[in-house]
Symmetry: C2
Subunit: 222 residues, 2 copies
DNA sequence: TTGCTTGTTTATCGAGTGAAAAATTAACCT
DNA sequence: AGGTTAATTTTTCACTCGATAAACAAGCAA
């Protein structure tokens, strides 16, 4: 009797054959979907089933399942970052609020997808190093520049943010991100008020930062 | 030869015996730790190993692993909620900012533990119904009351928040929660600036809400 | 057609999974 | 002491997991 545990197709009439590159890309794309849905413990057999191939074929393209996971990380984390985002934040020809709303508009357009958010959360829970690296990138490429721009708009001299100040920025940045988690992961509904939620967070962050800066001016520390 | 896959202790000298209630509670407490660390796919054998008992004993106390998971949900979600939190928010004898800082102080004291946060994230990714229920509780017992208090402090008539306004409150509430995620899950370090991060979020939220209310007063909708 | 390359399947292994049934034994009650 | 209850272990099953080796077959070049 035929072993069904590796069956590729029910009707094995049209057994097409892909080039090495196509097949590899197919594995990664379908893995993103599967891992996002069910986590990284998803079986290689379920993945193969979705691809319409048998399970051992995976090991022709990836030495181990962990190598496939790493390829998924690379595709999701690294390839979706747009360097032009950083220029958007620092473009002083536009009002700061407008700039930051524009930045968080395109940033959330990029990451507010169930695939991205769920893989991010899963890998974070796994304690993957790439997660910590991503957090450092956010800190230095987004939060610190925002801090510098708010100070500039407030007419204050440039200064590196303290750890505590970065934490305050994380509350807003994380709040915007977590708004996406609530909508896409928990409620499974499109984020209808994304723009006004972003604008609320941006304005609240800028104004509260300015307020704290002016208090600091009045009573300098140390 | 003895089968090691179910071994409880190496030295089986002191084989103590617990009461039904103690053992059941022990299963739940150790499950919280284990599931928080490794997710709900953790094996029942690993759990038994940590308890110092054999794996089939679990099935004397829980019909299935899923029943154990449900017991963990109950312990973590339901039992940690403090009804007095709601009174804290509505206590108009104190200034609103102070009230909300106090509320978020004790609320984060309750939930800013790796166990709670990780189980919350894991169960949310699994799409568990209890997660959606918790979100509704947060909305009606925390966010809507905060909305009412801000309006009251602004001298405005009572009014139910729109979905869009609740979303704005989620940005701050979620931001405070996600600050805990960043510290406890990603960075694995105690949230040193918890109080000032909370105060930042609270003040930013209150002031920005007031600002939007006053704009609304100037140009009423519809 | 022949023959070679390579994408793909078949078959299988060893370890680990949740769960059921039955045997064992510690603790309590007369 | 003896006897009973119930906590715990032993044994085992059917299944799933990631991974390997070998057989097969589609496409292409001669």
């Amino acid at each position: 009797m035929p072993d069904a545990t590796h069956a590729a197709k029910k009707d094995d009439k049209p057994r097409r054959r892909l080039s090495s590159d196509e097949r590899r890309a197919d594995f990664i794309q379908k893995s993103i979907k599967l891992f996002a849905e069910e986590g990284f413990e998803s079986s290689t057999r379920e993945l193969a089933r979705r691809l319409g191939v048998t399970q051992p074929l995976l090991y022709r393209y990836f030495p181990s399942k962990q190598d496939l996971v790493s390829a998924v990380y690379d595709e999701v984390y690294v390839r979706r970052w747009r360097p032009e985002w950083e220029a958007l934040i620092a473009d002083r020809s536009r009002p700061l609020t407008e700039r930051l709303c524009a930045f968080y508009g395109v940033y959330t357009d990029a990451i507010f997808h169930p695939d991205w958010i769920r893989i991010y959360l899963y890998s974070g829970l796994k304690g993957e190093e790439i997660n910590a690296r991503y957090m450092r990138v956010v800190t230095t490429r987004i939060l610190a520049p925002i801090f510098a721009e708010v100070r500039h708009e407030a007419g204050l001299p440039e200064r590196a943010p303290t750890e505590e100040e970065i934490d305050k920025l994380w509350v807003i940045h994380g709040g915007i991100f977590y708004f996406g988690v609530v909508k896409l992961v928990y409620a499974k509904t499109p984020p209808r008020h994304k723009d006004s939620a972003v604008a609320f967070g941006v304005r609240a962050m800028i104004e509260e930062l300015k307020r704290e800066f002016s208090e600091e001016e009045r009573a300098p520390r140390r």
